[in-house]
């Protein structure tokens, strides 16, 4: 039991009723509209729930996850003729049995049933094929990871460069700060629509610019229509839109570094690089951690750009996890499938933020 010692500061503020009452409205709403739906998604991911279905919902355990994450490896040996020699096609490449002979109704390979070819490589005369049960999910997963892995360092780095430019003592520098930040306040939907004009394959502004500076040598590219460029196009636009946000966070970090440190460095005759390396960068460590965490989380929720610009195509090259979660849960009314992606995404983000926290804590 608490003794009634007059510990003024502490006991003055120990008011459970007032505390809960003041907190309650916000917490109830958060529970109802954020934690509740999240727990629902968690629950649905273990069922076969659909938005509208004549059949009652059943619990299916981990089947949704097995379905999404199922991968198999198949080593194909080249076809041999009766003498045991490798059969080769006209160009001298060995011929292999078709993958579908293993994945369709083959009693010897039940674990590969229904899988599709994801990617493969040659191993001596053999061909190794990696199969996935849910190819679209796998593409969404790898695209999202690639997107995060590129956007996080690139956007953080460019934002730092911009912040250093803006931090110079020049007349009118605030005008440039205002302009660089401007895309942040524009809706990502509006930005995505505008950039469709920039990336257009025939009359796009980007093609015209490249053709102009190469004196007509450049062949127009359909940036959003080619599987090899579409994700990069979305990535470049996302960096363009978001970089001003993180520039401002860097800037606020830069301005916490005491001017006296720079003056001392000047007296010792430090070069601009040495000043950055030994004064600026150490002073930015906390900001760097924060920026990396924020960009990572924002990059994982890649959705509107894909929805407006490509719908995941061409050839699933711009699928993302959040886009697939919405596609399945909403467009296809497959709530269980969409929820399972949400749960995986949550676990992924959680794991990464814990890792980031751990790594940055070690250094301090």
């Amino acid at each position: 039991m608490d003794t009634m010692t007059p510990k003024t500061a502490k006991s003055l503020q120990n008011h459970p009723t007032a505390g809960w009452l003041m907190m309650a409205p916000a917490i109830i709403l958060l529970t109802l509209f954020l934690i509740g739906p999240f727990l629902l998604a968690f629950g649905f991911s273990f069922t076969n729930q659909r938005l509208i279905s004549p059949n009652p919902t059943q619990i299916v355990g981990l089947r949704n996850f097995e379905q999404m994450l199922g991968v198999g490896v198949l080593t194909l040996e080249p076809e041999r003729d009766n003498s045991g020699a490798v059969v080769r096609d006209d160009e001298g490449r060995p011929e292999y049995p078709r993958v579908r002979t293993f994945t369709r109704n083959n009693p010897d390979y039940p674990h590969l049933e229904g899988m599709r070819e994801w990617f493969g490589w040659s191993w001596g005369d053999n061909q190794v094929v990696v199969l996935a049960r849910d190819l679209v999910f796998m593409k969404a997963l790898t695209n999202t990871l690639m997107f995060v892995a590129v956007v996080a360092p690139v956007q953080a780095g460019l934002a730092l460069l911009l912040a250093l430019m803006i931090n110079q003592k020049l007349r009118g520098i605030n005008i440039f700060r205002t302009v660089y930040f401007m895309p942040v306040v524009v809706s990502i939907v509006v930005v995505s629509l505008l950039w469709r004009f920039i990336y257009d394959g025939r009359n796009g502004l980007l093609n015209n610019l490249l053709s102009f500076i190469s004196f007509g040598q450049f062949r127009p590219v359909d940036w959003l229509g080619e599987p090899s460029t579409a994700l990069w196009a979305i990535l470049a636009m996302s960096v363009w839109q978001g970089v001003g946000f993180h520039m401002v966070i860097w800037l606020s970090g830069l301005q916490t570094i005491p001017v006296a440190l720079y003056e001392a460095a000047d007296i010792e005759g430090a070069t601009p690089w040495q000043k950055f390396r030994f004064v600026t960068w150490p002073g930015l460590r906390n900001t760097a951690v924060l920026i990396l965490v924020v960009i990572t989380m924002q990059a994982f929720s890649l959705f509107a750009q894909v929805d407006v610009m490509t719908q995941g195509g061409p050839l699933d090259s711009t699928q993302s996890l959040v886009f697939q979660a919405v596609q399945r849960g909403y467009e296809q009314q497959n709530i269980a499938g969409g929820s399972a992606i949400s749960v995986l995404l949550f676990l992924l983000v959680l794991a990464i933020s814990i890792t980031q926290r751990y790594l940055t804590r070690e250094r301090n």
């Binding site: 007032a18 003041m22 205002t178 401007m182 524009v186 959040v322």
Partner: protein, 292 residues
Amino acid sequence: MATVAEPNKNLKTGLKYLLLVLVALVFLFPMVFMVVSSLKPDLQLLRDTSSIAAFLPVGDISLDNYFAAFRRAPIGLFVFNSVFVTGLTVIGSLFLCSLAGFAFAFLEFRGKNLVLSIVIATLIVPFETIAVPMLMVVNTLPFVGPNGLQWGWLNTYHVQIVPFLADALTIFLFVQYFRDLPKELIEAARLDGATWFQVYAMVIMPIAGPVIATAAILKFLAMYNQYLWPLMVTQSEQFRPVMVGLQYFFQLNTAWGEVMAYLSLITLPVLAFYLFLQRAFIASIASTGIKG
């Protein structure tokens, strides 16, 4: 004086400005293209993309696209809906989240730290991933309004407002700001017999201007630019906000001039607002990063 160094320094300054201007152009050109294109007839708009004319108000310039856009869609209604929903949500969330922030920052009670860490953990859930389960939740909720008790929240204003009244970021901003305020302020008011709500309303909120501005701006941007949720919950035109209104411009034959006019109409007010309050906008983003 250093006569030799002077021209060198001028050149260096000139180069710095050149770089700054080039980067500025990279950030400006899509918006310039949008506004300029909104003034051109479709054929000219598409033809001009092959030259610098894409960014210049030249040729057949008029406001025709704007008039056509207003004929095509009830833009006034969409703007009203957006302003109404955004405004109420911003005001409501400032009140509820500051109240919760006050409790977290100043009051001690059992379970506080656990609740606060759950609130902060919700920051890592992207909204889009819980949108569908949330749709099912709001679809089953009752609401007492002017027409009596109704079940299901679809096609209403409150379905666009109530779910966003409380959010972790806003609560977090208030907690962070309140924690730095001197505790003596509160103790003095409490000893004078003020209730906790009086302390909140008459002592703390009057000095919370900076964090209120920050939270209001961030919430405003998030709400005005919302896309997926209003798309899901407003099947009837009456309640649609401006971002959903975009659909009206993408029918069989897209009239790009009208699209550009509509995009300009829904973007320029926000940009004007931003230019007017740019210091506060930038300070608000910066403050999310001060503590790390």
